[in-house]
Assembly symmetry: D2
C-alpha cells in the first residue's frame, strides 16, 4: 500500500484545468518572491544550510521534471542532461548528488538559464495536464500535489535562506525596504490553558480527504497526561531576561550537547541579534531593526528553547500536545499572506494564540515515525522518512509559510542546533 | 520534590552493616574485573569513548568522595586536591572537567596511586556507615545507592572499553584466555509474539520500593497499537545475509545520517568483524574467534539496526513495546554472572527470549524525558537528564551487565552511530 | 632606509600625464579581462584560493584608495565606510580583514556598484595626478607604481581564479570560446645547457633604475656550483609517462609532506586533467580540450614537480640558477599578450627556451629574505615580507602574465601543495 | 655512489670488539634514561609529536633489526612478525606504518616485552659483531653507525617527549626530583661578534673521516655577506620584555603563518610557561620552577623567534653563518653530560658563547638539500631527504643532546610551529 496516495480517489474526476491553474499560481509565487533580488543575490550561499535562490528555483523544477515529466509525458526531453545531478537535493536513488555545501560555487546555469529551465518544465507540465490520453492520473496528480507542496516549502526556504545569506554580509542589505510595519498593540498577558489527560487521536489519515505528507500518517491514538499550554509565544523581552540572568553561561540549564554547541559556536544571543551602541538590534528581511520586546523571540535553536524552559521552570510541549490544542483552531494567523515577513505581538483573546504563523514552535518531540508509518516505494520515499533520526519536530508554520500549505497535523523538523528558520517557542507544563 | 529519593523512607531502618557489605561487594567487583590486566593496560584510551581502566577505577571513587564524603563525613579530607577536576566525568556544576578525549594521556596517578585513592575512599565510606551520629541518612543512602549503581555501570564500561582498547591494537591481545565456551545448541526458529493494543503503564514510580534512576520515572500511561515482537535477537548469520545482499552499499535502506556515517567511516560490517583468509572472524574478550552464525549480532549501531530492519521489511520495537513484553519476565539470561562475556545462541521456548542479557537491544525510541520527569536539583541532576537529546534508547542489558543492576524499566542510551557497547537488536512489526 | 623607494629619484621629473595614461591602461585591462563574464560569474569562489572576479576588481581599487587617496588627496572621501574591511586582503595593520574563505558569500556590493567604486577611485587618482600642489611625489609615485603592479598581479589572478571557479562546475563552461589556437610545431628535443660555477650576482638593486618589489632586493652575491639546465619545460607527454609508471603511488619518489598530500587529497594527475572515455582531457580557459602531449605540463604543485624530478633522476633548479640563466635573455615568450592563455610547445633554438611565459617554473628554493632584505615600514611592508615562510619560489611568469610586469629578478611564491596557478617546471642537474 | 658510506674505508680494519663496546654503551644509555619512569609513564602520548617512551625503546631496536639483522645475520629470526609495522616510524618502503598519532593507544607490547625485544636484538647484534664470516662489513658498519646515531637522537627525543607528556598532566609530575642546580653566575652582556663576507666552505665531506648524516653533505662553497652574531642566546628576561610590550598581539611583528598560528592556538607565552599568582613559572624536567630571567628562553617556535627578532630590529642567523662561527669552536657546553637537563646562564668570555648545548638555535634557513646532495638508495634514504620541505634548520644541540652526537655541521630540522624541543635562538644582523 502506498501511503502517499492521498489524492488517489480524486484523480479522475478532477478538473485538470483547475490543477493547471493551481500549478501556475504556485509557480508564479516562487518567481514573485525573487523579484526584489539583484542577479548577484541569486548566486550566493553563506553556509551549507542556506542554498542560493537560483538553486531553489531550479531544484523545484527538477522535482517536476524528474518525478513527473520524464516518467509520464510522452516525448519529453530533459532541458539539460547534467541538471539531473546538479539539482538533485538528496535523492540517492536518482543518482549522484551535487554536494550541498558547494551550491554557491555554481555561476552557471545563470539566472536567465534557470528561468528558461522553469519555462521548459512549465510548458511540459501544462502540456501534460492538457493531455487526453489514458494516463495514470491518480499517480500523476498525487505527485503533482507533492510537487506543489514541495515548491511551497522551498518558497519558505527562499526567504529564510535569503535572510541568512544577506545577514552574513557586513553591509546587512535588506531584502525589501517596503515591508509593512506590524500593528502596534499591547502585549497579551501570559496565561495557562489546561487540557485533560486521556487518549487522543493525532496525525492524518493515510487516505484522507486533504493532502498531507506521509510523515503525518497514519492517524493514531496517543495517551496524554493532563497538561497546560502557554497562551502565547515567548517574547524577545522575556528571552532577554534569560540572557541578562546569565542564561548562556550557566551549564546547569542546558542539554549536554547544547552546552557543547554554545561554547564551540560562541553563542550569546539568538541568531541575528546584534548589540549596537548599548542597544539590541536584529536583522530582519527589511534590514536592521531595533529589537521589539513584545514580539516573539525568533531564530533560536531547540537547545536555546530548552535552556529557556529549564530556566523558567517549565518545559516545551510535545508535538501531540500542540496538535491537540491546534486541531480545534482554524489555520489563521501571521502567515506569509500578511506580508509582514516577521513575527508580531500576540493578539489578546481566549485560548492559546499564535499557534499558526509567526514562528515555527519547538517541541520536545524527536522526529520519529508514527506507529504504522511506511515510507513510499522508490526515490520519492526519501522525501521524509530517511530524516527520522537526530532531528526535533516543530509545529505551526511561520510568518513566511503560505496559509494553504499548513494544517494542524503538519510536522516540520530540524536539527537541534539549527536556528536559521523562523523558529520560536511557547512553554508548557504538567497539570498535575 | 526530589525524584531521586527512592530510598528515602527506608533510610533510618536499614542495617547499615548490610549497606557496608553491599558496598564492599560492589567495590571489589571493580578491582576483580581488572585482575587480568597488565599495568600498561590500565592507561590507554584508543578513542574518546573508551576510557582507561585506571580512569574508571578512580572516577567511581571520585563519585563517592564528591557526592557523599565531602558533604557528610565530618573531618573527611580529599585524597588529592586536583582529583576533583581530574576525575570529574561531566558534572559542570562541580567545576572544570578534564577533557574526556585526553584521559589516556595521564600516566599519573599511577595504578598503585589509584588503588590507594580507592582505599582512602573506602575507609571513609566504611567509617561513615559506622557513624552513630545524627546524619541525614535518607539522603546519604539514596546517594550511596546511586553511587553503587553508578559503579556497576562503570564495571560494564570497564569491559566494553577494555575490549575497544585491546581491539585497536594490531596484536589483538585477549583480555582473558580462560573464558568458558558457550554451550552448543540449535538456533531457535524466528517466531512472532503478538501483543494487544491499548493503554499500558510503563516506567518506574518516583518513590518506588526498588531503586531506579530518575530517567525511568514517573510511571505513566502510554497508548500502544497492536504489535508483534520477534521471539529472539537477530543473528550473525542473518546479518551476514544483509551484508552479502549489498546492505552497506544501498542508500535506500539507510537513515540519511546513517548513510553519511557509513560513507565517512567506511563501514562495511559490524565493529570487530574482520575477514581473514575468506572467513569472517570477530574480536572477543577472549581474543579473535571465528564468527558463529547462530549467535546474536553484536556491536552494531542504531543506524545498522535500522537499515537491517528496513531490508527485512520490519522495524525496531519502541521502548514501550519492549518494556511491556519484558515486564512479565524475570531478570535472567546471559548476564555478567554467566562469565561468558559474549552473547550466545537463543534458547528455545515460548515467548520472546533473550530480552535480558546477551546484548543491549536497539529501540526506535529517542531518549527523551517521560511525561512528568524532573531532574534532581544540583550537580547530581546532571546524571541523566542533560543527555536527553540526540541519543536513542537501548533496553535489556548485555552479557557484561550485572544481573542485580538491571530491571524492566531500565533505560540505556547511546548516540545512533556508536557501537562499542554490546549492542544488538530484535525486530518488531505492526500487528494490523 | 625605505627599500621600496625605487622610483624615488624619478618622482619629481616624471610627466604625471604619462603616469595617468599608464594608470588608465592598467585599470582598463582589468575590466577588459572581465568582459566575457556573466554577472553571476563575478560572484563565485569555488575554494579559498580562488577569489571572485568582483572581489579582485574591488580590492585593487581599495589598494589605491587606502594607500594613496586617503593619505594624499586632500578632501578625498571614501566610497563606502565598510569597504575598508570588506576589500582588505591581508593587511593586519589596516584593521580587521574580512575572511578570505567567505568572499564568495557577498552578493553585495553588486558588480555595478563595484564598477562605480572603480570609477570613484579612478576619478580620485586622476584628480590627484592632475594636482599642482606641493605633494610628496616621490612617495606617491612609488606607491602608484606598486599599485599598478599590484593590479597586474590581480589580473593574472583574475584569469587563474576564473579558471579554477569555472572548472569546479560540472558544466565546465568556457571563459572564452574564441581563443586562438596555438601554432603547431614539432617538439624540441631535450638538451642540457651548462653553466659555470662561481660567484654570481642576483636580485635587484634596492634603488634600481626599474621597478621591482622589495622581495627582489638587494642585489647580492651568491656562490653557485656548476650546473646544467634543461633546454625546455617538461611536457604533458613526459609527465604522463611518470603517471603511467605509477608515479602517484610510489612513496619513494615523494617528499614526506607531498606523499601525505597525495593520499589525503587523492591526487592521481595534475589539476584539471580528466580521463574521459579512455583519453586524457584537460580544462582550459577555452573549455575542455584533449591533452596535447608536447605542450608543457601545467597545474602541478611543487610536490609533483619534485616527485617527477626524483623519478627522472634530476632535480629542480634553484632560483639563483634560474635567474643566472634568465638574466641574459629578453623578457619574451608566450605571455598574456599572445592571447593564447595556455602554454604552448617550446620553440627550437639554442639556449634554454621558455624561461619567460608559458608556466611559472617551480624551483627548489624556499621563499626567504635575501641577505640585507628589509620590509618597508607600515602596512605596505606586509606586501611581501610576512609570507617568507613555508612557501616556495617560482620564476618566469606564465601565459597569463603581462610582459611589462615581468623581469629576470621577479620572485613569485606559493605553498608547495598549491597548483591552481599556471605552474610547471624544468629540470636541472649538477654538472660535476 | 652511496653518500652514506662515510665509514666505508674503515670497515675492515676496525676492531669489532670496540664497536660492540660502543654499541652496548649507547644502548645502555637509552634504558638508563628511562630508569626514573613508572611503568605507566612509558605508555602515554599527549600529542602526536611526543611518542611514548616504550615506543622509542622499541623503535630504535626495530631499526637495527630491520636494516642490519634481517639483512646480514644468517639465521636471524624476527622477535615478532607484527613489530615490522608496529615500530616503523615512517619508512614507506618497508611497508605499512602504524599511525604516529596512535602510538599511545598501544598497551602491548608491555614494557617487559619491549625490554625482551631489546635483549633479543642486542643478542643478535653482538652475535653479528662476533662473526668471523665473510660479511660486507663496510656496509654493516656504516648502518651500525647510523643506527647508533639514530638511537642517540631518540635519547634526546625520550627526554623532550617525557617532558611534553608530563607537562600535559595537571599534576605536573617531575621526571627527576634530584636534578643538580645550575651554577649561579651573572648574565654576560650582549655583544656583537663580526664576521667577514666572502666565500666559505660549509657542510661535511661525503666521504669524511668522521660520521655525519647525508643531509650534511657534500661540503660546498657558499657566499656570505658580512654579518654580526650575538655573543649569547636571548634570555627569558629579554623575551619577557617582548611579551610585556604586547609582542603576542601585534601582527606587524609576525610572519603571516605565525600570526595565524598565534591566534588559532591562543599562544601568549613560550610552551611550559605558566603565570601562577602573578609570577611566571615554567615546567622543567625537575618539575615546576620559577622562571630565571638570565637563562636562555626555551621552547619557542620559529615563529616566535622570528617575531622577537623583528621586534628587536634584528634577524635570525642563517645556518651557514652559524656554522662558520661554530666551526672553529670545540663541541662543548651545557650538553647532556652536565646532567642539568635545562639551559643555563651564558658564561662570560670572548666570541659567541653557547653555540653548542643549552638550546637548539633557530636559524633563518629552510631545510633544503645542499648543492650536490643525493639521498641514499632504498628505505634508508628516507632517513633525512624526504623531509626537505616546510621545515626550518636548527643548529648546535641542546642540554639533552649527547656531546659525541654533535658537530658543527649537524643540521636539525622542525616545522616552524613546533616548540616541544629545547629550542631557543640568538640574534644576528647585517654588518653593512
Amino acid at each position: 500500500m502506498n501511503t502517499l496516495l492521498h489524492t488517489a480517489d480524486r484523480g479522475d474526476e478532477l478538473d485538470r484545468a483547475a490543477w493547471a491553474q493551481r500549478y501556475r499560481r504556485v509557480r508564479d509565487a516562487s518567481t514573485d518572491l525573487c523579484a526584489p533580488l539583484a542577479v548577484e543575490d541569486y548566486v550566493i550561499q553563506a553556509c551549507e544550510e542556506a542554498s542560493p535562490a537560483k538553486w531553489h528555483l531550479a531544484h523545484v523544477s527538477w522535482f517536476f521534471e524528474t518525478f513527473i515529466l520524464t516518467e509520464y509525458l510522452p516525448g519529453y526531453s530533459e532541458f539539460h542532461p547534467r541538471y539531473r545531478q546538479l539539482f538533485n537535493s538528496y535523492y540517492q536513488q536518482i543518482g549522484e548528488v551535487f554536494p550541498r555545501a558547494a551550491r554557491g560555487t555554481l555561476a552557471r546555469p545563470t539566472v536567465d538559464e534557470v528561468l528558461r529551465y522553469r519555462a521548459h518544465v512549465d510548458a511540459g507540465m501544462l502540456a501534460l495536464l492538457a493531455e487526453r490520453a489514458d494516463l495514470p492520473w491518480a499517480e500523476i496528480l498525487q505527485r503533482l500535489e507533492i510537487g506543489l507542496n514541495h515548491e511551497q516549502q522551498h518558497q519558505e526556504l527562499l526567504l529564510t535562506d535569503i535572510k541568512r545569506n544577506f545577514a552574513a554580509n557586513p553591509l546587512r542589505p535588506a531584502y525589501r525596504l517596503d515591508l509593512p510595519h506590524p500593528a502596534q498593540r499591547p502585549r497579551a498577558p501570559l496565561e495557562w490553558v489546561s487540557f485533560e489527560g486521556g487518549v487522543y487521536e493525532i496525525g492524518a489519515p493515510a487516505l484522507g480527504e486533504h493532502f498531507s505528507y506521509d510523515n503525518e500518517t497514519p492517524r493514531h491514538r496517543v495517551y496524554l497526561q493532563p497538561f497546560r499550554l502557554a497562551s502565547r509565544l515567548v517574547t524577545n523581552g522575556e528571552f532577554l531576561a534569560f540572557i541578562e540572568s546569565g542564561g548562556y553561561s550557566n551549564p546547569a540549564l542546558w542539554l549536554a550537547d547544547g552546552w557543547t554547541q554554545v561554547r564551540s559556536a560562541g553563542w550569546s544571543a539568538p541568531l541575528y541579534w546584534e548589540r549596537i551602541g548599548g542597544e539590541w538590534w536584529h536583522y530582519t528581511l527589511g534590514g536592521m531593526a531595533p529589537l521589539a520586546p513584545d514580539e516573539p523571540v525568533c531564530h533560536v535553536s531547540h537547545y536555546e528553547a530548552a535552556a529557556y524552559a529549564a530556566w523558567a521552570g517549565r518545559r516545551l510541549p510535545t508535538e501531540a500536545e500542540w496538535e491537540v490544542a491546534a486541531a480545534t483552531q482554524p489555520v489563521a494567523g501571521n502567515l506569509r499572506e500578511t506580508g509582514l515577513l516577521r513575527p508580531t505581538v500576540a493578539p489578546a483573546g481566549a485560548g492559546p494564540a499564535q499557534l499558526y504563523g509567526d514562528v515555527w514552535e519547538h517541541t520536545g518531540s524527536a522526529y520519529l515515525p508514527y506507529p504504522g508509518y511506511h515510507a513510499a516505494e522508490g526515490a520519492i520515499g526519501e522525501y521524509n522518512g530517511k530524516f527520522m533520526c537526530n532531528q526535533m519536530v516543530l509545529r505551526g508554520g511561520s510568518c513566511v509559510t503560505p496559509a494553504d500549505h499548513l494544517r494542524a497535523t503538519y510536522r516540520n523538523f530540524f536539527y537541534p542546533q539549527e536556528r536559521w528558520q523562523f523558529q520560536g517557542f511557547r512553554l508548557a507544563e504538567d497539570a498535575t
